[in-house]
Symmetry: C2
Subunit: 209 residues, 2 copies
């Protein structure tokens, strides 16, 4: 079937939101941890984290202009720091629950049953139950004019993960680490490796590595 723009705009709101959110493909499943200057922690699920660059090491994510996620943004502005924590199968229900509209004075760590954990490097809480954790310092926010969302970019200052998931070439076996994927707004998926492929060169068939 074909659906054209006018028909998308005419769809019932929840139907349209489910539909458009599904069209990206599989999305990363992360919890972003922050703390306010008064020391109140915040934790929110994000499926829009993407790679921005390796040198300097940058990650980015998109934030809606008005939503519960504002707590994340105001904390990042206050402290200049945030953490990205991979979601695994053991904590996906707790992770999903962080998307509830909790008051600013409620910590999603407490409300959803996850444990804050700190290092000396960064002023933001990690999620203890996560197996891959990244600490970042805020570097820029670019507003997307079309709808007022903000693309937030952070530089990696710390990576915490188990030695045995890093391959000799630096690739991290996130499947082995238990990381899961999201589709749409609310669907969670585990993965099964198909293959890693060799660097693509014109005229040379890619090989499994």
């Amino acid at each position: 079937m074909k659906i054209v723009n006018e028909n998308i705009l005419a769809l019932e709101k929840h139907y349209r939101t489910n539909l458009v959110n599904s069209l990206i493909g599989f999305k990363s499943a992360n919890l972003i941890g922050t703390i306010s200057k008064e020391g109140k922690t915040n934790l929110a699920i994000f499926s829009s984290v993407i790679h921005v660059g390796a040198n300097p090491p940058l990650m980015g994510f998109l934030m809606r202009p008005v939503s519960v996620e504002r707590h994340t943004y105001s904390n990042i502005k206050e402290t200049g720091c945030f953490t990205i924590n991979h979601i695994n199968k053991e904590i996906y229900k707790q992770a999903h629950q962080t998307s509830g509209r909790y008051d600013k004075n409620v910590s999603e760590f407490d409300a959803c049953g996850l444990t804050p954990e700190y290092t000396e490097t960064i002023k933001a809480p990690y999620v203890k139950e996560s197996t891959i954790k990244i600490g970042l310092r805020f570097v820029e926010g670019q507003e997307i004019k079309s709808n007022g969302t903000i693309f937030i970019v952070g530089e990696i200052v710390e990576i915490i993960l188990s030695d045995d998931v890093i391959a000799k070439d630096g690739y991290v076996d996130i499947e082995r680490a238990g990381t899961i994927a999201i589709s749409g707004l609310d669907s969670y998926h585990e993965t099964k490796s198909i293959a890693r492929l060799s660097y693509a060169k014109p005229g040379v068939e890619p090989k499994e590595i």
Copy 2:
């Protein structure tokens, strides 16, 4: 183990690229199709497509400043259009191969064994072998100052997919459609559904739906 920023910067280039690209979690696997004003088609794999908004329906992706992907950008600037095509298990090797550094006068459709397909709505080629295809018009490009990458945003003008993968509430079962996920630079994964969870509300345990 912990890796801190100074140590990331000191890593061998390929090791660092593999490592940092793995830290996002699972990534969407899409082919972006474009055509130049002279009618030359271009096809490139992207793992950075994210949801920007549902009303208006917007999708975005990050483009490196200097790379083979420039062909995609110059074509988008020329025609104002591009397509996003989900990658499935049947075409992942061809999709990977589009990342080779082909000359501008070589179409990755021909070189990699994929078939261009057109509709009357949009001046850009779809990938016939893809099961979920989205046509978009360019709306804005925001430069990420930290490294000169550009976040490109498009508005959906057309969606082409099979009726039987859309649930009653608009959710698209992309796993059933055969869509796969990427991790790192070169690892491909199929998925297995864990669950869909109900809309999160404070104090209410999320239920499988």
